[in-house]
């Protein structure tokens, strides 16, 4: 009797094992399938860009300004590489994204902290709603707003400053929400530990909470950067584009995505879109990977 029961138990546990194995198999299959579906477009995009763009990528591509159409035509007719590069785009992008960061990062963090401090008060919810609307607003509309505010009234013409303001407006909500979420995740007892040591509240925020949530803040900032670095539409209405390297924030400036658009519209330069896009994608990818690394280090 005893022995029989043991055998029955063993049998039933065997069939359970088999069923578990089968469902595990299906699950693994699905995981692989879904991973393939999501990764294929990315791989294809990168392969395409590399295949079509790698020939143009050399030192000149990063140290020289965009060629004019005539030079490009001549080079093409002689079977040479298109001369020049995207230096004016690179400097313009760095200048405008940099200025946008100077505006949006401190402001976004301050508003995020304000929302955290004021939790569920009515006006905090109002600001949260506005932030969500801002995040959902089409970027070209934000460009229009920067045009109205800055191009018309401040710089009286297309300018890098206007471009930076449009990018800053885009970055704001992307920094505000992660800041609030990061602060909310920090246990209250960490804050109370500071209070119990007699530390003034603003110093607790600056010297305890901010360093504790640093990786969360960094993740938000890097994702915001990677989001705006490829923006084209708002810059068309604000920075316009420029053929030269210029660091005057009251003058028009170029940007990598603006160059891509220019190249696309010029039959002699159209071949440059691949190498330019490849550079842009590489920058966005790098920012994303860094922010993922930082995020995964958080416990």
């Amino acid at each position: 009797m005893e022995d029989q029961k043991v055998i029955v138990d063993k049998l039933s546990s065997k069939s359970k094992d088999a069923r578990r194995k089968a469902s595990n198999g299906i699950f693994h299959g699905l995981v692989i399938l879904f991973s393939l579906i999501t990764i294929t477009p990315i791989i294809l995009i990168i392969l395409n860009l590399v295949e079509k763009g790698y020939r143009q990528i050399n030192l000149h591509f990063f140290t020289q300004i965009a060629p004019d159409s005539w030079d490009a035509m001549q080079a093409i007719s002689q079977g040479k590489l298109i001369p020049g590069g995207i230096l004016n785009g690179i400097t313009g992008t760095f200048m405008m994204v940099g200025m946008a960061s100077i505006i949006a990062i401190p402001l976004g963090i301050m508003i995020g902290i304000f929302l955290y401090e004021n939790g569920n008060k009515r006006y905090a919810n109002f600001i949260r709603d506005i932030t969500d609307i801002l995040q959902g607003a089409p970027s070209i509309v934000l460009g229009l707003i920067a045009y109205l505010w800055v191009v018309k009234y401040i710089t009286h013409g297309f300018s890098a400053l206007a471009g930076a303001v449009s990018l800053a407006i885009m970055m704001l909500p992307l920094i505000i929400r992660p800041t609030e979420e990061t602060f909310k995740m920090i246990p209250n007892t960490i804050k109370e530990a500071g209070v119990a040591l007699g530390v003034p509240y603003h110093k607790i925020i600056l010297k305890v909470m901010m360093p504790t949530g640093l990786s969360g803040l960094m993740t938000g900032i890097l994702l915001a950067l990677s989001r705006v670095i490829g923006e084209t539409a708002p810059l068309m209405l604000t920075a316009l584009g420029s053929q030269y390297v210029s660091f005057d924030i009251t003058k028009p400036a170029s940007a990598i995505p603006l160059l891509i658009w220019n190249f696309y519209n010029d039959p002699n330069l159209v071949n440059l879109i691949w190498s330019s896009s490849l550079s842009l994608v590489a920058m966005v990818l790098a920012l994303n990977l860094i922010s993922k690394r930082i995020a995964s280090k958080r416990k």
């Binding site: 246990p187 007892t189 960490i190 109370e192 530990a193 500071g194 209070v195 119990a196 040591l197 007699g198 530390v199 003034p200 110093k203 607790i204 010297k207 305890v208 360093p211 504790t212 640093l214 416990k299």
Partner: protein, 263 residues
């Protein structure tokens, strides 16, 4: 036989008619109701009572922690060595009254060393490096953590065990050389070995510090405290020598609590 030395010492804290309410609109509902007591110097005073009876609320009134939350109202007076604590600045008060929390809460962004001297650093109190080194070494030795971490002082403390982290938090409170240390169930998140280490530590510390300890654990109160308070529904029901209270409680509710009838 009472020890004459402890009897003539002045109380370190005097609590007079203390009320704490979590709802400033409903002043009739008190988490701590009209508590008056003198806390003896260089002794361990345990606060016991069932969950929700107001132990933490009482403890947190002693270093004005409640001020962090605008909804909380405290009334009554508390004197620290004859000085009304409401007259002290935050930093003056909290240098004299340190606090240790239920779950260990070292600052995650700081090294072990920085954690110990966090009170000085965050308040911008300037010190020479060797002064700081001394404070770190002494505080960590006081909590019996020095030998375990002396080679990792500049690493973050997240590799420490829960008990070690809690001892680090005690060291952080000791670094200010306070008069009083408040502890709110400091061992409830720890295993028995880590708990007994902290209990030994508290017994050693009472030579130089007055200790107020909230505990759920009657055996712990019996093991290490000199005086005990029993609270019930916000009231201080009974307060006296721990030995007397455990052998001969004077209030029926204390007796029932000690016999495990509730809580």
């Amino acid at each position: 036989m009472v020890n004459p030395v402890t009897e003539i010492k002045k109380p370190v804290l005097r609590i007079q008619n203390l009320h704490v309410s979590y709802d400033k609109n409903d002043k009739g509902k008190y988490a701590v109701a009209n508590v008056s007591a003198d806390i003896k110097k260089d002794q361990i005073t345990a606060i016991m009572g069932p969950s929700g009876c107001g132990k933490s609320s009482l403890l947190r009134a002693l270093n004005r922690m409640h001020e962090l939350y605008p909804n909380i109202v405290t009334q009554g007076k508390i004197f620290l060595n004859d000085v009304d604590i409401s007259k002290l600045s935050n930093i003056e008060l909290r240098r004299k009254i340190g606090m240790v929390f239920q779950s260990p809460n070292p600052f995650p962004s700081m090294s072990i060393y920085e954690n110990v001297v966090a009170g000085y650093k965050l308040n911008g109190i300037k010190q020479k490096k060797n002064q700081r080194d001394e404070i770190v070494e002494k505080s960590l030795k006081d909590v019996a953590l020095w030998n375990e971490v002396k080679d990792a002082l500049h690493k973050r403390g997240n590799f420490l065990s829960g008990g070690q982290q809690q001892r680090l938090c005690i060291a952080r409170a000791l670094a200010f050389q306070p008069d009083v240390i408040l502890l709110d169930e400091p061992t409830s998140a720890l295993d028995p070995v880590a708990t007994s280490k902290i209990e030994d530590l508290l017994i050693k510390l009472k030579k130089n510090y007055s200790i107020v300890l909230v505990t759920h654990n009657m055996a712990q109160a019996a093991r290490i405290s000199d005086y005990s308070m029993f609270m019930y529904l916000g009231e201080l029901v009974e307060y006296g020598k721990t030995k007397d209270m455990f052998t001969n409680p004077s209030d029926k509710r204390t007796e029932e609590y000690l016999m495990g009838k509730f809580g």
